[in-house]
Assembly symmetry: C2
Homo-oligomer: 185 residues x 2
C-alpha cells in the first residue's frame, strides 16, 4: 500500500493557523487541498504522544489505576499511562510512568504496537508496552495526580471491557490485545 502515491485519497497541506498552545495540547486550523482540487479546513489537536502499559503479574493479573478524569467527569479504570515528555523514548516513558503511578518496576518490557486515539482530529499516538516480571515498590504520582491501584485477573479485565465497565479505549484495546497475543503463544 503506497500511501504517498495514493493520490485518490491524499490531501495536500496548504497552510496552518495556530489557535492555542497549552501545557498538554496545541490546537491549529489547517487548510488542505482535497483530491478533487477543492480546499477544506481541518481542526487539529497536537499532542506529544503517550504510552500505555500493560503490567501483567506472574499470576496473570493486570495492574490498573482508578483516577478522576475531569474531561469526562468520571472516575475511570485505566491501564497506567502517561504522555511522552519531550520526545522521550517509549520504553523509558513506560518505565517512569509505571513506577510513578503504581510503584511497580518491570524486569521485562517490550513495545507490542502503537495506535492513534482519535485520528479524525488529533495526532496522539500511543505505544502499547507489555510489562512483566513485576517487583512492587512505592508509588509516587506527579503533583496533582490522585490515583488508586487496582489489580484484577486478566479474564476479569477482559470481561469488563466486553461488558463496557472499562470505558477507556486504550485500556480496552490493551487488555484485548494482551488476550489475543496470549492465545497466539
Amino acid at each position: 500500500m503506497e500511501k504517498n502515491l495514493d493520490a485518490r485519497l491524499k490531501e495536500e497541506y496548504v497552510s496552518s493557523e495556530e489557535i492555542f498552545k497549552g501545557k498538554i495540547i496545541g490546537v491549529q486550523v489547517d487548510t488542505v487541498r482535497l483530491p478533487d482540487g477543492k480546499t477544506a479546513r481541518r481542526e487539529v489537536v497536537k499532542h506529544p504522544g503517550a504510552v500505555v502499559i500493560l503490567p501483567l503479574t506472574d499470576n496473570k493479573e493486570v495492574v490498573l489505576v482508578r483516577q478522576y478524569r475531569h474531561a469526562t467527569g468520571e472516575i475511570l479504570l485505566e491501564l497506567p499511562a502517561g504522555k511522552r515528555d519531550g520526545g522521550e523514548e517509549p520504553l523509558a516513558c513506560a518505565r517512569r510512568e509505571l513506577e510513578e503511578e503504581t510503584g511497580y518496576q518491570a524486569q521485562e518490557m517490550r513495545v507490542l504496537t502503537a495506535f492513534y486515539t482519535s485520528p479524525g482530529f488529533c495526532d496522539e499516538l500511543i505505544y502499547l508496552v507489555m510489562a512483566k516480571g513485576l517487583l512492587k515498590g512505592e508509588a509516587c504520582p506527579d503533583d496533582g495526580e490522585f490515583i488508586d491501584v487496582v489489580t484484577l485477573p486478566l479474564d476479569e479485565a477482559v470481561r469488563m471491557v466486553l461488558d463496557g465497565e472499562i470505558k477507556d479505549a486504550k485500556t480496552g484495546l490493551g487488555i484485548l490485545a494482551c488476550r489475543g497475543l496470549e492465545e497466539q503463544c
Copy 2:
C-alpha cells in the same frame, strides 16, 4: 463503586475559559479544585461524540474504509465511523454513516458498548455498534470525504490489529471486542 462519593479522587469544577469553538471540536481551559484543596488547570477538548460501526457479513467478513487523515498524515484503515450530529441517537447515526461511507444497509444493528478515546483531555465518547444482515447499495460520502471500501475476513482483521497494521484505536478495539463476543456466544 460510588463515583460521586469518592472524595479521595474527585476534582471539583471551579471555572472555565473558552479558547476555541470550531466546526468539530471546542477547546476550553478549566480550573478545578484537587482532593488536597489545591487548584489546577485542565485543558479540555469538547467533542459531540461519535459512533463506530462493526459491519459483519454473513461470511464473517468485516467492512472497513481507507481514508487519509490529515491530523496523522497517513492513510488509515478504519471501521466506518462518524460524529453524532446535534445529539443524534447512536443507532440512527450508525445507520447514516454506514450507508454514506460504504453503501451498506444493515438489517440488524445494536450498541455493544461505548468508550472514551482520550479521557485525559477529551470528552469524546464513541458508541460501538454491531451491524449484521448487510445489503449492498451505493456509497455517498460527505462532501470532502474520499474513501475506499475494503472487506477483510474477521480473522485477518484481528491479525492486523495485533500486528499493528491497523493503527486506529476505535477500529482495533471494535475488531477485538467482536472476536471476544463471538467467542462468548
